[in-house]
């Protein structure tokens, strides 16, 4: 038997793809959440209400995405 038939390369490929999407996605979204919080704080200190709401919205949306990813991760652990 060859390696091609012994190893489930399709499933391994999916592990690679899903890992990349999840890790890079989480790092990107969390970094944007930090940008949102820091910029909102800058706006609040400078009393610029309009753009502050936009940055707060960015932080909130990114926070919600991170929370959803955490819930999904716990579901994966519980259902294996």
């Amino acid at each position: 038997m060859s390696l091609a038939t012994i190893v489930d390369w399709g499933a391994l490929g999916k592990v690679v793809l899903y890992s990349m999407v999840a890790a890079i996605g989480a790092a990107t979204v969390f970094s944007f959440a930090i940008v949102g919080v820091v910029r909102f704080d800058d706006c609040r200190r400078g009393a610029r209400a309009g753009s502050g709401i936009g940055w707060a919205g960015l932080a909130l949306i990114c926070g919600l995405i991170i929370a959803a990813v955490l819930v999904e991760a716990i579901i994966i652990m519980a259902s294996k």
């Binding site: 690679v16 890790a23 790092a27 294996k80």
Partner: protein, 370 residues
């Protein structure tokens, strides 16, 4: 033929292995948190211990044993399980002694496979399963974690690059606490269940449980307690290696490392590949360091670790086979064999601790390295 003395020794040995597993693998979840000061060392090990304990109860779909895919289950006896556990414990202690992060799961599989080879020959071991489910994924996992962590940190630096460093550091430290918690939970779910599986296998082999029986509650609780206590004890020597000796990391790198590690482990778990948490996290640490600057990684330390990974299976297998062989000198189903092996093991442990504590600088303790 039943022998409850042997069974009691096997169960106790399995719980000792579970303790060393927690002790050895604490670094995977908290080393980066401690090195970037996201958490104080003692608080971090307590946090990780609680989540390891909780993780042991999240999924109770316990496999018959961690090694069941690799060996013929019909040849398994309590003495074989005992030999495998002794091999795994010895390897965990040896790698702890040298401060090397290595896989407790591979040590356990290696130990059991070694004992089976001595007991029933190589025909009772599935080489194909070892290759497809263990060796190939073990090669891919650290490389994948390396690449994913490297890309993650490059993107993170680009996004937050123009911000003031203070709030950014605080933000990523918060992220590390969350991702470290996720890793601890995943570790409790995966690794405590291996011990539950081993004890269940011994109970079945000894005739105390039917082959299709559920894992008893006392097994679940005792495995959860043992891994949590081991985690709380903290393998500070390995925490130092993972957290500070491979690279000097900042909080963004710590977050990228833990996030990438958790993603690879959960994706692999979802598709049924039993990856080593240790290999994944170590690969991610190197990746997040190399992406910033190749020379930031101490490649000599990384090389020692990879060397330890390569010899884990054969070394634990040899120790497991030897432990089983000594046990069998006293005859089948005779408790004298396991008792002699336990006495030898305790002697080796006592010698290792005494030698380590006599060395200049003494033992590595919590907080001293943070």
């Amino acid at each position: 033929m039943h022998n409850d003395t042997i069974l009691v020794i096997v169960v106790a040995t399995a719980l000792v292995f579970d303790y060393t597993n927690g002790f050895h693998d604490t670094a995977n979840a908290i080393a980066t948190m401690v090195s970037t000061r996201a958490m104080a060392p003692r608080v971090a090990v307590l946090y990780s211990a609680i989540l390891n304990f909780a993780g042991a109860f999240i999924s109770l779909q316990v496999a018959a044993t961690v090694a069941k895919d690799f060996i013929d289950p019909n040849v398994v006896t309590p003495e074989i399980v005992f030999g495998g556990l002794i091999g795994a414990i010895l390897w965990n202690l040896a790698t702890w002694y040298f401060g090397l992060p290595s896989s407790s799961s591979h040590a356990l599989i290696g130990g059991v496979v070694g004992a089976v080879v001595v007991a029933a020959g190589t025909d009772a071991v599935s080489g194909e399963a070892l290759l497809s489910k263990l060796l190939i994924p073990a090669l891919i996992a650290p490389i994948l974690a390396f690449v994913v962590a490297g890309l993650s940190i490059l993107i993170a630096y680009r996004i937050v690059g123009r911000l003031k460093p203070g709030p950014v550091t605080r933000g990523y430290r918060l992220g590390q606490i969350v991702s470290g918690g996720l890793l601890s939970l995943a570790h409790g779910t995966n690794d405590a269940q291996k011990t539950m599986g081993v004890i269940t296998l011994a109970l079945i082999a000894n005739g105390n449980l039917a082959s299709d029986a559920q894992t008893p509650t006392w097994v679940i609780v005792s495995a959860a307690v043992a891994i949590a206590l081991g985690t709380y004890s903290g393998g500070w020597r390995i925490i130092k290696t993972v957290g500070t000796r491979i690279i000097k990391m900042d909080s963004a790198q710590g977050f990228a490392t833990q996030g990438s590690g958790a993603s690879v482990i959960l994706a692999a778990s979802h598709f049924g590949f039993p990856l080593s948490t240790t290999h994944v996290i170590s690969g991610a640490v190197m990746g997040s360091g190399a992406a910033k600057r190749l020379s930031a990684v101490r490649w000599g330390v990384a090389g020692n670790m990879i060397g330890a990974w390569l010899v884990t299976l054969p070394a634990a297998g040899a120790m497991g086979g030897l432990a089983y062989g000594i046990t069998r000198i006293f005859g089948a189903n005779n408790a004298a064999g396991p008792i002699v092996v336990v006495v030898l093991l305790l002697t080796v442990i006592g010698f290792a601790f005494a030698r380590r504590f006599r060395q200049p600088g003494g033992p590595v303790v919590a907080g001293a390295e943070a």
